[in-house]
């Protein structure tokens, strides 16, 4: 009891200190930049469960020169690298940058963290237009179409085609090119006509986490693999003595919707999900979509699913699972490490499993999520080579494995997977294996490759807004998705008006 009180007092003090710091540090800058890092991104849930963590730090990109500047000689070509992380993932990247600067002669990588992918992207375009571009920008999968299309003020493409500038070399500035080694699921997503336009980095999949301790206490056995099984497990759990407030939660993020459409083997856009030609039609009101939203609403209506009340709420859903308020959590594999640790620290057993799918549909599979590193177009040759070397260095087998162990993003190269396997890492940490296995089990079809659609970031918001109206206002799923279809189609038409040829 006393300990609890002390903790609380400490928390209060910490909060007070934060407030004072924040009041001094950030003025009334109530702009868009305040969004926490997790906002626009697919799969970077905040692992910090306290929203009170460092509010001040969210505001401005923390520019931290990587490595020891004293060691870098003055002649080194500076490679400015912009990434959309500001938490422990920025720290990890800074460490890798320090290693790069030490091992690779003639280059000095400088990392800058941004609050979100969109912030980094917008800043990059403005930096190009004002003549001081970065060399590498980290941008997420949903905006792949926009990144390929994007033009700077001078009408030139913003990003270079990665394989075109590598130009067949197997080594750049002494760093081996690892593109051929990238795992299949990421390869199919990010390749255009068989060649990469950007370098895959953080890649994840949506998976399910179970609180096995809680389920055992309720006498619920097995691992649900389908919507129907999950619903049955929830019914049993909620009827048991060990029942908590509710049974399952996941963020109202379009990424989960996309996963569940792909798991049913259905498309989200025409022209093979935009893979065989520019997509000019979206299928937001498809039967697969309506079925999914109807099931979701049913879970909520029965009290099995908890909606945290805000869209893209990674933190709130994570907290419900970590506090043992729900035995099931559908989440990004990017936090496998953190979620497994929550169990270890909180005295309950966390198990990872495949995302439940519609038991009445076959032939589908799960999608990837995450981001790639893009090299800016039009850099001088030295800087460009440094940028290529850096993005390959970041995903070399050693770093790919370390990144996976730190976060839970899948090991991005086959060598990294086999090295970890040989070390026995997966046997010791079975949860870490699930995302890779789920992606490997996914058949190679246009549905499971993922949609490539213009204005997709805005379209995703249309989808989550409609689902929120279903969950909060009880709107009819078919009607809500039909309205979403109309808005999404208008957004795509507008995008194509600006970017499509002619």
């Amino acid at each position: 009891m006393r300990e609890q009180r002390r903790t609380r007092r400490f928390a209060a003090l910490a909060l007070a200190a934060t407030v004072v710091l924040a009041a001094c540090g950030d003025d009334d800058d109530s702009d868009a930049d305040d969004e926490p890092a997790t906002e626009e991104s697919t799969d970077e849930p905040a692992t910090d469960d306290e929203p009170a963590d460092e509010p001040a730090a969210d505001d401005e990109p923390a520019a931290e020169p990587a490595g020891d500047d004293e060691e870098a000689s003055g002649d080194d070509a500076v490679i400015p690298v912009w990434i959309a992380f500001e938490d422990y993932r920025l720290d990890w990247t800074n460490e890798v940058a320090a290693a790069f600067n030490e091992q690779v002669d003639g280059y000095s990588v400088e990392i800058t963290g941004f609050a979100s992918y969109n912030d980094a992207f917008d800043a990059a375009i403005q930096a190009i237009n004002s003549g001081e571009p970065p060399a590498v920008v980290h941008f997420f999968e949903a905006a792949t179409q926009e990144a390929r299309d994007a033009l700077a003020g001078n009408g030139e493409p913003v990003f270079a085609d990665l394989e075109a500038i590598i130009d067949g070399r197997t080594e750049v500035a002494g760093v081996p090119v690892v593109l051929d080694d990238v795992v299949a699921s990421a390869a199919t997503y990010y390749q255009l006509d068989g060649s990469y336009t950007s370098m895959p980095w953080n890649t994840s999949s949506a998976i399910m986490f179970l609180n096995r301790t809680l389920l055992d206490a309720a006498g619920v056995e097995g691992t649900p693999a389908t919507w129907q099984e999950l619903e049955a497990a929830c019914e049993a759990f909620m009827a048991s003595d060990a029942a908590t407030d509710s049974c399952v939660t996941w963020p109202n993020h379009s990424w989960f919707v996309e996963q569940d459409i792909a798991l049913q083997g259905e498309l989200l856009a025409n022209n093979d999900n935009g893979r065989s030609g520019r997509a000019d039609e979206v299928f937001i009101d498809s039967d697969a979509m309506v079925d999914y939203v109807t099931w979701w609403k049913g879970m909520a209506d029965q009290g099995y699913y908890t909606y945290t009340g805000t869209q893209r709420d990674w933190g709130g859903t994570y907290d419900l699972f970590a506090a043992q308020n729900v035995p099931f959590l559908l989440y990004s594999s990017s936090d496998t490490t953190a979620l497994t640790d929550e169990g270890a620290n909180g005295g309950f057993e966390v198990e990872a499993a495949f995302l439940p799918r519609n038991g009445e549909a076959t032939g589908g599979g799960a999608l990837i999520g995450g981001a790639t590193n893009w090299v800016i177009n039009g850099l001088d040759e030295t800087t460009q080579d440094g940028a290529i070397a850096w993005v390959n260095f970041l995903s070399n087998p050693e770093n790919a494995a370390s990144w996976h162990q730190t976060t839970g993003y899948i090991p991005i190269t086959e060598t990294a997977v086999s090295n970890l396997e040989a070390e026995g890492y997966f046997d010791e940490n079975p949860n870490q294996r699930i995302a890779s296995e789920q992606l490997a089990a996914s058949p190679d079809t246009p549905a499971t490759t993922g949609a490539l659609v213009g204005n997709f970031v805005a379209i995703r918001d249309v989808i989550t807004e409609s689902i929120e109206s279903v969950l909060v206002n009880g709107d009819d799923p078919a009607e809500a998705m039909a309205a979403a279809q109309e808005d999404a189609q208008a957004l795509l038409d507008e995008y194509n008006l600006l970017f499509a040829d002619g």
Binding site: A22, D26, A152, Y307, D461, Y495, L498
Partner: protein
């Protein structure tokens, strides 16, 4: 120029000539000419830059009407300017303290130039760019822009109950006419009658506006009104009450008066964060209290629309409280004690002294605070809302400013973002003008 446009401009010029000719000291032909120029050029100034596109066949009736309304607004501004120019010149105030006159005409401009440069670069130029973007389909990642005429505006217009909008607008107009008539009657009419008429006309006009928008944007409009009015009215009432208590001469008053001002030093996102921690349905302190005392948990404000609005309003009130207190405490100190004493001798109760002496004496401060608080409520609640509700649940706290930032930030849509910020700007200008005309007139500066 299309014929209807020419016709509209001619009408504007005629109306301008008629209006300005009615009053003023200059010669009649000059007044009529100025009025015609003001009206015609005003209408031309808003329609020429978009190439009279609202009259073209490819756009709908609502674009056509919107174009005409814009031209009418431009003409009204032009006529007002002409009227001001033709008004009798004010005689220089001979009693004013003597002031020196610059010997060189360029000297004041030179000294003003740094300020003007800042205004042009940071205010006027961005404002003109915003107006330009509001007629385009544009995004940051492409230098190409497509002309959209006024589509970015008119797509928000789609009356689902046009008759209701018309009835309410009619009621508002009748109210305004009645108000003008009552004003003519002068003192013979009771003040309360005028207050009621003005309130009825204002409310019905605001309601009529709501029914002009599409369902989606109407929600944004209504939510903005609820949260802004709630923040301003609640904030002023509460801060006046606290200021009245804090103003009492008690030991240590200077210390706690200073402490009361602290919330003002905290940025809106932090206010959001604090209230997030307080009201959270699972871990919040309020939930803890209600569970312990009443044995019932707090409803989750993040899934209950009315609660969400309430929490945002409370957080915003708390945030502006320090600022309002600062002014009210200072204002209370300027009320001459003999006035209050005189009222006391006349047998006025404490409430009567407060109602009939203190509140009127504070009217200039209240007026100032209404304007600044409205500006805060319209433009600066983004951070608070973003931390508390993210505009949810289902848009229940999605105020106009939040919507604008969402449109630009996730959609990268420069055109829509600009158009909606123009609408918000127009709304605030309209509200402030109404404020100056209605309440501003009653302010007494002692």
């Amino acid at each position: 120029m299309p014929l209807p446009a020419l016709f509209a401009i001619l009408v504007a010029a005629l109306v301008g000539a008629a209006v300005v000719a009615r009053s003023g000291t200059r010669s009649l032909p000059l007044r009529a000419l100025a009025g015609a120029l003001g009206g015609g050029l005003g209408a031309l100034a808003v329609s020429a830059p978009i190439d009279f596109c609202t009259f073209s066949d490819e756009y709908e009736t609502k674009d056509y009407v919107f174009g005409l309304v814009l031209m009418a607004a431009g003409a009204a501004a032009g006529i007002a300017a002409a009227r001001a120019a033709m008004a009798p010149e004010r005689k220089p105030d001979t009693n004013a303290t003597s002031h020196s006159v610059w010997r060189n005409w360029w000297m004041p401009w030179l000294l003003l130039s740094p300020t003007l440069a800042v205004l042009v670069v940071f205010l006027y130029w961005p404002a003109i760019e915003t107006i330009r973007y509001s007629t385009k389909l544009a995004r940051l990642s492409n230098p190409k822009q497509v002309d959209r005429c006024v589509y970015n505006f008119t797509e928000l217009i789609g009356p689902s109950r046009p008759w209701l909008a018309l009835v309410l607008a009619g009621l508002g107009m009748v109210g305004i006419a009645a108000g003008v008539l009552l004003d003519r009657q002068g003192r013979r009419v009771a003040r309360s009658a005028r207050t009621i008429v003005s309130a009825v006309s204002a409310i019905s006009l605001f309601a009529a506006l709501a029914f002009i928008f599409t369902d989606d944007y109407r929600q944004v409009y209504v939510v903005t009104m609820i949260i802004s009015v709630g923040t301003v009215v609640g904030g002023l009432v509460i801060s006046l009450g606290i200021a009245f208590i804090a103003y009492q001469p008690i030991r240590g008053a200077s210390v706690y008066r200073t402490l009361l001002i602290w919330p003002y030093a905290i940025s809106p996102p932090i206010a959001g964060l604090l209230f997030f921690v307080i009201f959270d349905a699972n871990t919040g302190i309020i939930d803890h209290w209600t569970t312990t005392l009443l044995d019932t948990g707090l409803a989750d404000y993040r899934t209950t629309p009315v609660l969400a609005q309430l929490v945002v309003i409370i957080a915003s009130i708390w945030k502006t409280l320090g600022y309002n207190l600062l002014f009210y405490v200072a204002g209370l100190q300027t009320i001459p004690p003999d006035q209050v004493e005189a009222a006391m001798i006349d047998g006025a109760s404490a409430w009567q002294r407060f109602r009939y002496v203190v509140i009127p004496a504070l009217s200039p401060i209240t007026f100032f605070l209404i304007v600044t608080n409205l500006t805060y409520a319209f433009f600066e609640t983004y951070g608070t809302i973003d931390y508390l509700t993210k505009g949810g649940p289902a848009g229940a706290t999605n105020v106009a400013m939040y919507e604008i930032i969402q449109v630009f930030n996730t959609g990268g849509d420069l055109g829509r973002g600009s158009a909606q910020s123009m609408i918000l700007f127009a709304g605030v200008v309209g509200l402030t003008m109404w404020q100056f005309r209605s309440t501003g007139r009653r302010v007494t500066y002692g």
